[in-house]
Symmetry: C2
Subunit: 177 residues, 2 copies
């Protein structure tokens, strides 16, 4: 498949069977910043890595993210009032992998309890704490809208990015590599 | 402000006045992939650059984006049924700037009419065409949910990223620069 004019896109019917695969590949090509979301649910910390965090408005400060309702973290997000989001830097890559692939996410001193009881990860470039305003379910997935109530900036560092199944770093356009 | 444990975050009250500015800085530190959204409204093409596009689910294929309702493109998005999203590559940087900063976005042969009448930009790494399922307004902003009905992959190229007010490219973590 090719988007060039001399190779017009195939009609939907022709690609229907494999379309979810095409859709996944389209989003593999869409790079994203990496964040970790955390909640305190029943006195226990929960958290997971996400690449869908997006600003909704600065005034009032509000953001969104999307997640699967089949995720092990969904019951915690579904039943908690407050939530933390951490924007990750390059130095947080191990944290990103730990919160994406392992189950043992909070053993250690890499976090502390923050405002509104939310688990806060240390040494991240920035974090926000917010109140979950809305969870909007679409079949097995949900959009979550969060009203920010607190937050802070850490040391500014290069951000951690995710693209095509790998973690990457940003590089200026002006310099050829 | 500093997220390190020896400098605990200031309480919300102390930063209240400047909080929208802190929020903006938090999202400046969150890098994002760059996309252009397009619609055909009343026979005219509309489009704009966005950094909030996120996958919601692959089955069914569905994505979201956030936008300001004060945007000049909002009436077109508010009143159209179908919409296109184009994932941009490095070579599309001029297109990204044109659809973010200028008003003359469709003069030229860089686009054609695609499925469901949606304006399709040529020579992009990937695009999707979808039906707008929901527009959810939060004061001056909106979350838009799109059910994908078509789409195609172009030539795979390095993605265009946006971080801290600049366009950047991805670079592997494994190599020191």
């Amino acid at each position: 498949m090719n988007a060039k004019p001399e190779n017009p896109p195939q009609p939907a019917a022709a690609v229907e069977d494999s379309f979810p695969q095409t859709f996944r590949e389209v989003f593999r090509r869409h790079a994203a910043g990496v964040a970790i979301l955390t909640v305190n649910y029943g006195g226990r910390p929960y958290g997971f890595t996400a690449t869908s965090v997006a600003s909704l408005s600065a005034e009032p400060p509000r953001f969104t993210f999307n997640m699967s309702r089949t995720s092990s973290s969904w019951p915690a997000v579904a039943n908690s009032t407050y939530l933390g989001v951490h924007m990750l830097g390059l130095e947080n890559r191990e944290l990103a992998e730990r919160f994406a692939r392992t189950k043992d996410r909070f053993s250690g001193d890499h976090w502390e309890t923050g405002p509104c009881g939310v688990p806060l990860l240390k040494d991240v470039p920035a974090y926000l704490v917010g109140r979950i305003e809305l969870r909007l379910s679409f079949e097995n997935n949900a959009i979550v809208v969060v009203d920010v109530v607190d937050g802070s900036l850490g040391e500014e560092k290069a951000p951690l990015l995710y693209h095509s199944g790998s973690y990457v770093r940003p590089y200026p356009l002006e310099y050829e590599i």
